[in-house]
């Protein structure tokens, strides 16, 4: 019997499902399983799930496609999908109020970022520090000191959230413990300011992009440089990993965007088409599309498989300063120096709505995790919340006395932080 099994059922023997986890944004089920004694995870993405989806049919479909989901698990899967549908149905209409003004720094802030649970967040500043804050109390938990110039780019290693990376105009990147505030490593090697960075999804690498025209990958464990991504002829100002972490994308002032293989550090291809500096470049969740924004007033969508441009999104009268996808990748939004933002359908590439009202450039834009709201930060000193389908402005977050440089939703979508040139950070909830 056992011998007979080895051929056909080797899969179920080697891969044993341990438990199922729910992921709300974007909707999905995470499978935790054992393979040759090692604990691994994979996800079933349900990006098109809606409250109206036929659950029994969907479960059947999943069972057919995913060998780890056996008949005995179907009830559990069904239960999880119902929970996801329930969550999708509660598209909350949260009203935000100013909760705290943090006189955070003695000089302007640069960027702000939440950890995954939203329990704490970080702020970077011209005062050369990064500070870690408790979201519920507004208390300062740690000041990360050691950089010799502006702390510009900051990140948590989400979803874990136990580490923080800071990239500075002092040309170094530092890795810190979020728990103790201790510096684990200082990554040296760039010859100009570090202006963007990201952890890979597995939290084994940090990528840094610099004004020296290169990006570098660093090993978190040993603190060593893994590889330098060279090829751009001007400053790199944007970078991001894809969801699986095998590709990284860099956007440059040389008007191009490059896609790199993380394993080898080799360039896979270059996206050429924009006629001015790139302001941002990112993947959608399922890694099928790349979105790029440029000073040439347009955004472009590219097919990840072949690197071909599939659409140019026009309409803005001035430079594109920021872009984003919603968590599922169905919608994308563009923010411009013309003071407006636009929402497009990723499928039809048509403009769905226009966000009008800011009295200055919009420098930051992001969807809430649910995808039904947009948050914009502007030089007009306000942040605004919009309905992402109708374009209606729902709230104006007023109070900052200078430009807003950065803003973010927490994962639940019920807390907002804004960082300003006025040296303060504000918590809204």
């Amino acid at each position: 019997m056992e011998m007979q099994v080895s051929g056909q059922c080797s899969l179920s023997e080697r891969m044993k499902l341990k438990r199922l986890l729910l992921r709300y944004y974007p909707p999905g089920i995470i499978l935790e399983y054992e393979k040759s004694g090692e604990l691994k995870t994979k996800s079933i993405d349900l990006l098109d799930l809606s409250p109206n989806t036929d659950v029994s049919a969907l479960v059947e479909e999943i069972r057919k496609a995913e060998p780890l989901i056996t008949a005995s698990r179907t009830d559990q899967v069904k239960h999880l999908i119902l929970k996801l549908q329930d969550k999708l149905g509660q598209q909350g209409d949260h009203k935000f109020y100013l909760f705290k003004v943090l006189r955070a720094h003695i000089l302007p802030l640069t960027n702000v970022a939440f950890n995954k649970s939203g329990s704490c967040f970080i702020t970077g500043s011209y005062d050369r520090t990064c500070k870690l804050w408790d979201t519920s109390s507004g208390e300062e938990l740690h000041t990360l000191e050691g950089h010799r110039n502006v702390v510009y780019a900051i990140a948590f290693n989400n979803p874990y959230g136990d580490k923080i990376a800071t990239g500075s105009f002092d040309k170094t990147c530092k890795l810190w413990s979020a728990e103790t505030g201790k510096c684990y490593h200082t990554f040296r090697g760039h010859t100009a300011e570090i202006v963007c960075l990201s952890f890979n999804p597995q939290s084994t690498l940090i990528a840094t992009g610099s004004m020296d025209t290169t990006a570098k990958l660093w090993d978190i464990q040993n603190g060593e440089e893994v590889v330098t991504l060279s090829g751009h002829s001007a400053e790199i100002i944007s970078l991001s990993f894809n969801t699986t972490g095998n590709r990284i994308i860099t956007g440059s002032f040389d008007h191009t965007v490059s896609v790199w293989d993380v394993e080898t550090g080799r360039k896979v291809y270059t996206l050429i088409g924009h006629r001015a500096e790139i302001s941002s470049a990112l993947f959608n969740w399922d890694c099928s599309l790349i979105l790029t924004g440029s000073m040439d007033k347009t955004c472009m969508l590219w097919d990840v498989l072949n690197g071909k441009c599939v659409a140019t999104l026009t309409g803005h009268d001035d430079e594109i300063l920021d872009i984003c996808f919603d968590y599922t990748g169905q919608l994308l939004a563009t923010a411009s120096a013309d003071g407006t933002a636009r929402v497009f359908s990723a499928a039809t590439r048509k403009c769905i709505t226009k966000l009008e009202g800011h009295e200055g450039e919009i420098s930051k834009i992001s969807f809430n995790p649910q995808g039904n709201r947009l948050l914009t930060g502007s030089s007009d000193k306000t942040a605004r919340i919009w309905d992402s389908h109708t374009g209606q402005c729902l709230q104006i977050l007023e109070g900052h006395t200078d430009e807003i440089f950065s803003c973010a939703f927490n994962y639940k979508g019920n807390i907002i932080i804004t960082g300003s040139k006025d040296n303060t950070c504000r918590i809204w909830r």
């Binding site: 003695i106 000089l107 302007p108 640069t110 960027n111 011209y126 005062d127 050369r128 110039n149 502006v150 510009y152 105009f169 300011e193 202006v195 004004m211 001007a234 400053e235 100002i237 002032f253 500096e277 302001s279 430079e319 300063l321 920021d322 120096a337 200055g360 450039e361 420098s363 930051k364 930060g377 030089s379 200078d402 430009e403 807003i404 440089f405 950065s406 040139k421 006025d422 040296n423």
Partner: protein
Amino acid sequence: GAGSEPRTSERCKERFSATPSSPSPGPGGALHAVIREWREGPDAQCGACSPSRAPYPQGLLSILRKLKSAPDQEVRILLLGLDNAGKTTLLKQLASEDISHITPTQGFNIKSVQSQGFKLNVWDIGGQRKIRPYWRNYFENTDVLIYVIDSADRKRFEETGQELAELLDEEKLSGVPVLIFANKQDLLTAAPASEIAEGLNLHTIRDRMWQIQSCSALTAEGVQVR
């Protein structure tokens, strides 16, 4: 425009003869002269500037763009000085903006001013004592240093002289031309530029071009604005 006045070239030479020059502002303007000198050498001709209203800064991205090493026709100017010296007022005058509501700068202000084919990216950095240690954040790629002095604040001449001396010792600013504005000449108690130049021992500066210019950022006297 450039060359319309036959003596302009002569005046430029005079300005950069490494001795304190006449505090009276010429129509060409000291700022422009320093930039021209730095760009094209001592024989360059001065001309009048025509600042135009610059676009409002565009968040962090525009800071990155202004950070990158300046292309040929861009000049990165760093505006420093003690608190209350008048740096922000000067910046706003250069950009032809309203100067009626100016508060102490807690961080920095950036403006781009077009001037005779040059794009001047001017960085005005707050001067309060607690944030002076952060001035060095902004030293990289500086083409011209403008140092502003409140000519009526005699009690702090020593302090401002010390700060200037430290700046001139900074490695990242070595060789960077310095233009000193003896500001607030509209006040009766203002010390003349020549006295300030002497007090600060400007004549001992040998390692760079320098220039002192009396002005009033408030009335725009000595600040070339049209």
